[in-house]
């Protein structure tokens, strides 16, 4: 069952235009951004590199997170956690919605969303981090 709400962007740019603007997101090790929550996230993730996750997974996850926070202003930094086999998870949750992103060791991603009231599940897999319309719609609900 899929429960995807329409994206409601209060913006003048299209999603495609926003995506094209954020390609130059800095490296995980570049903490010069003024986005302090993101800096803290990067610092945590950098402690995992070489132990639980690879530098490539860290980089992909942090670029994706930075992109999401630009496209969805007000999106909190998620709970970040290493999982088995070199994956990094990012989880947002509020009273009704749960959204989880996993960046796997091979660079692919798994997106998962759950409506805790309607019990609707949503998921997408991609070969690389992607700002899909489905993911953006899910994250709108936990913003």
């Amino acid at each position: 069952m899929i429960a995807v709400r329409p994206i409601e962007f209060p913006q003048t740019e299209t999603v495609a235009q926003v995506r094209s603007l954020i390609r130059a997101t800095p490296s995980i090790f570049d903490t010069s951004t003024a986005d302090h929550p993101l800096v803290l996230a990067k610092q945590f993730v950098s402690t995992l590199v070489g132990q639980e996750i690879s530098e490539d997974v860290a980089e992909r996850a942090m670029v994706l997170l930075a992109d999401l926070r630009q496209v969805l202003p007000g999106l909190d930094v998620p709970t970040l956690a290493p999982g088995p086999d070199g994956l990094l998870g990012m989880t947002w949750e509020n009273a009704r919605y749960h959204v989880n992103i996993e960046v796997l060791a091979d660079g692919s991603v798994e997106y998962f969303g759950e409506d805790l009231i309607s019990h609707a599940l949503w998921s997408e897999d991609h070969t690389e981090p992607t700002l899909s319309d489905g993911l953006l719609a899910q994250l709108q609900q936990v913003r």
Partner: protein, 154 residues
């Protein structure tokens, strides 16, 4: 509490420990995922410890201080979990005794607290449509159960 044989179920009401690492101390769903190696076992179980036989400090030492936090679950709550939406073909998780093995030697671990080793079963079921999403829903529910109970920084 007396330790049972491998595969025996833990007694009702028992509390189990699970160690994890996260950016803010929140128990993440990733804490309940089996590794590829876990899945190769005859009975895949997610490693936990019975609190009555293993302290947090002992569990921390056994896991070579890889983790930063510990959470607690009541086995009754674990056994009551159902996928959401429910599918009657999916089995509920359970908690069983399991001999802890030393990762380097493959022999039974003799460190203090190792006798408390146990594991959550039924986290790697397959064969159903949408099974991956159902499994992730179970991980999410386990994390929520754990977040509703006391957690500790190691």
């Amino acid at each position: 509490m007396q330790r049972g044989n491998d595969g025996d179920k833990l007694p009702a009401g028992a509390l189990i420990l699970r160690l994890f690492k996260s950016s803010d101390g929140t128990v993440p769903p990733e804490a309940f995922q089996l590794s590829a190696k876990d899945k190769q076992q005859d009975v895949p179980r997610l490693s936990t410890s019975a609190e009555a036989l293993c302290t947090r400090a002992q569990a921390h030492a056994i896991t070579q201080r890889r983790y930063t936090h510990a959470c607690s679950l009541n086995v009754d709550d674990v056994r009551a979990l159902r996928p959401d939406p429910d599918d009657p073909r999916m089995r509920s998780p359970d908690v069983e005794w399991e001999t802890a093995l030393d990762p380097s030697s493959g022999q039974p671990c003799t460190q203090p607290g190792a006798e408390g080793h146990c594991g959550i079963t039924e986290l790697d079921q397959g064969g159903l449509a949408n099974i991956k999403a159902l499994r992730k829903s179970l991980y999410r529910q386990l994390a929520r159960l754990a977040n509703d109970r006391a957690r500790a920084t190691l």
